[in-house]
């Protein structure tokens, strides 16, 4: 990651062209959805940044995206692929809910911290077995983590339907967490809470960890050349395992923060695919923690913006997925020209 990046005129021009391309395709899609592009953009921008409420909503929705992306990024530093963020997030959410509705330590802060630690531990546990299989048997972690998502989804479906079902709800969901576990909203009428700062804090910690810590340095070297790392005395397997565990913990934490800060229970269809969106964000951000925040903001703004677009026009809300994907495709295409061919 060390190395000077020159900002040449050509790169600037290409970046502008990239933005132009994305915007024009977006305009085309909005037009196809039955709305004039300019109005469409206006609603999207108003809906995501228009007033302090919308802006806070955009920030709030970044929380799971940032952490899910970080959950991919940290293992990627050591050359591991974590496609299981979705499952780890679900497990983490369940862990937080489990603590939240069953235990009480009396002090709000203690409660919240314990619940978050448990959520991270649950996420970590779900990342542990693919990592273990990988380092012990060289089993491809892409398959195991991917399949883990589906197994986790069914497992959670079972848990919230049977042993931990909220008997008062016709929906499959856990009981609500106790009020002492709730991370309170900071502003009237908005779901924005301290979870955002936790997520940003994690990103900063990761950034410093990677640049300044011996272990972070070992992560980078392991990812860059595992054979070399091994001969340098770095315990490659342990490092890879550790990175995967941290990744799982981050995804679990994302779930925990969602429960404590927003939903206050785990219900069916808890995650609309945070794990996969996180993967995309991470790849667009070259695994860089700070860039992840920027890209997550874009994704989140598109999401809140498209809710607003749906409110005032007849354009269906699915458009946010289309717009996000278009953005990913163009950025991926231009990446080669703008920053050259390098991964991570």
């Amino acid at each position: 990651m060390i190395g000077t990046r020159t900002l040449s005129f050509r790169k600037l021009l290409l970046s502008l062209l990239l933005v132009l391309c994305i915007l024009s395709v977006w305009a085309l899609i909005i037009w196809f959805g039955g709305e004039s592009p300019f109005k469409g953009f206006r609603y999207i921008i108003e809906g995501s940044l228009g007033n302090h409420y919308q802006f806070l909503s955009t920030l709030n929705k970044m929380v799971p995206l940032i952490l899910a992306a970080a959950a991919v990024a940290v293992p990627a530093w050591t050359g591991m692929w974590n496609i299981g963020g979705e499952g780890q997030l679900l497990l983490g959410a369940f862990g937080a809910a489990l603590v939240g509705f069953s235990i009480d330590f009396g002090v709000g802060l203690v409660n919240i911290v314990v619940a978050l630690i448990v959520s991270a531990a649950f996420g970590m546990a779900w990342a542990a077995w693919p990592a273990f299989f990988k380092i012990k048997l060289r089993m491809d972690e892409v398959v195991t983590t991917l399949m883990g998502n589906y197994i986790a989804a069914q497992l959670i479906a079972y848990l919230i339907n049977n042993p931990f079902r909220d008997p008062r709800s016709p929906l499959a969901q856990t009981p609500y967490i106790k009020s002492s576990f709730v991370i309170p909203y900071l502003f009237e009428g908005s779901q924005f809470s301290a979870t955002f700062f936790v997520a940003i804090g994690m990103v900063l910690v990761l950034f410093i960890f990677r640049k300044r810590f011996i272990t972070g340095y070992e992560f980078d070297i392991t990812g860059s050349n595992p054979v070399f790392a091994g001969l340098s005395g770095i315990r490659v397997k342990k490092t890879k395992l550790l990175s995967m565990l941290i990744g799982g913990a981050l995804a679990g934490l994302a779930g925990g923060l969602l429960v404590l800060g927003m939903t206050q229970r785990v219900m069916q269809s808890f995650s609309p695919g945070y794990g996969f969106t996180g993967l995309l964000i991470c790849l667009l951000a070259f695994n860089d923690p700070l860039l992840i925040v920027g890209i997550a903001f874009l994704f989140s703004a598109l999401q809140t913006g498209s809710v607003n677009l749906q409110l005032f026009t007849s354009v269906p809300a699915e458009i946010s997925g289309v717009l996000q994907a278009v953005m990913v495709l163009f950025v991926a295409a231009f990446k080669t020209f703008i920053v050259g061919r390098r991964e991570g």
Binding site: Q154, N162, E318, L329, A333, T336
Partner: protein, 299 residues
């Protein structure tokens, strides 16, 4: 176990296995060309959508399949351009395409069919079955009366085994995955080989999608592929892309799907039964690795 039960299991397995088989055969091609194709889910879905739309409009399943295959090939072409020529990360592009198509099909349905996210109609023509009644129970239930695409898919498995291991294209394909520099040195463009593999993969995923939406059921509903593209990916990675093994693993997955329906009762919660195909894919992979670990002594 009575025979009727086994027959039911068998027929369900075959029906559930066919789309997985077609998709994983397609993915096996890109796998040999050095691309782990995570976009198969999306390719199947776009084909399922256009198959239904064109089958509905033209009243012919054949045109439906063609439309689905063409749509899937076009998306696959897009995928290949990004991955092979623009050197973008295949996971990024794959997942982006999945999200794009999941949203796009819904979006198109909203725009085309006025606010539906499932579309069915008696005017949707179905893929033909090989309908022969011989009177022999075994023949009728175990060999005949499946979708023509089922027979085609098995034929394709053997055809691909031939193409990959016997033909010139197959040789280049394998080299492309193992050592692309060797191809460049021989004056063959790696990107072109990958492009062809991707397009063929698109075609096969297109057939898979058409089979799902014109035979397994005759309708389109949102995200109706339900993770089958990823199961296909698991089948490829487990089998190492060898077509005959892919065939075997896909049938195995079909069986697990059938069992996941069958095993539910008072004692086994549906969730655990439905986990089965995914757990088994991990277990099968695990067994393969335990076996290979014995072969190499090194840790």
């Amino acid at each position: 176990m009575d025979i009727e039960l086994i027959t039911t299991l068998f027929r369900t397995s075959i029906r559930m296995a066919t789309p997985i088989l077609l998709a994983s055969l397609g993915g096996a091609l890109t796998y040999h060309a050095g691309i782990i194709n995570v976009a198969m889910e999306g390719l199947m879905l776009i084909s399922a959508f256009f198959s239904v739309v064109f089958s509905y409009l033209t009243g012919s399943a054949f045109y439906g399949i063609i439309a689905g295959v063409v749509a899937s090939m076009l998306i696959s072409l897009l995928y290949s351009v990004f991955v092979s020529f623009l050197k973008a990360n295949n996971f990024a592009i794959g997942f982006a395409i999945n999200i794009l198509i999941s949203s796009l099909t819904l979006f198109l349905m909203r725009v085309m069919f006025q606010g539906k996210n499932a579309f069915n109609s008696p005017d949707i023509a179905s893929i033909m079955e090989l309908k022969v009644k011989t009177g022999n129970y075994f023949l009728d239930n175990y060999l005949l009366n499946f979708s023509i695409l089922t027979y085609l898919s098995i034929a394709i498995a053997f055809l691909l085994a031939y193409i990959i291991y016997k033909t010139s294209f197959g040789l280049r394909l394998r080299v492309c995955g193992e050592m692309p520099q060797a191809l460049t040195a021989a004056g063959i463009k790696v990107g072109v080989i990958q492009l062809w593999a991707s397009i063929l993969c698109g075609g096969l995923c297109g057939l898979a999608g058409a089979q799902l939406s014109l035979y397994n059921v005759r309708m389109f509903s949102r995200d109706m592929t339900g993770g089958r593209g990823f199961v296909a990916l698991a089948a490829i990675l487990i089998s190492g892309g060898k077509p005959k093994r892919v065939l075997f693993i896909s049938l195995l997955f079909g069986l697990f799907d059938a069992l996941s329906v069958k095993l539910q009762n008072e004692k086994i919660a549906p969730q655990f039964a439905l986990m089965l195909p995914y757990i088994m894919s991990v277990v099968v992979l695990l067994l393969f690795h335990l076996k290979t670990r014995k072969q190499y002594g090194k840790a």
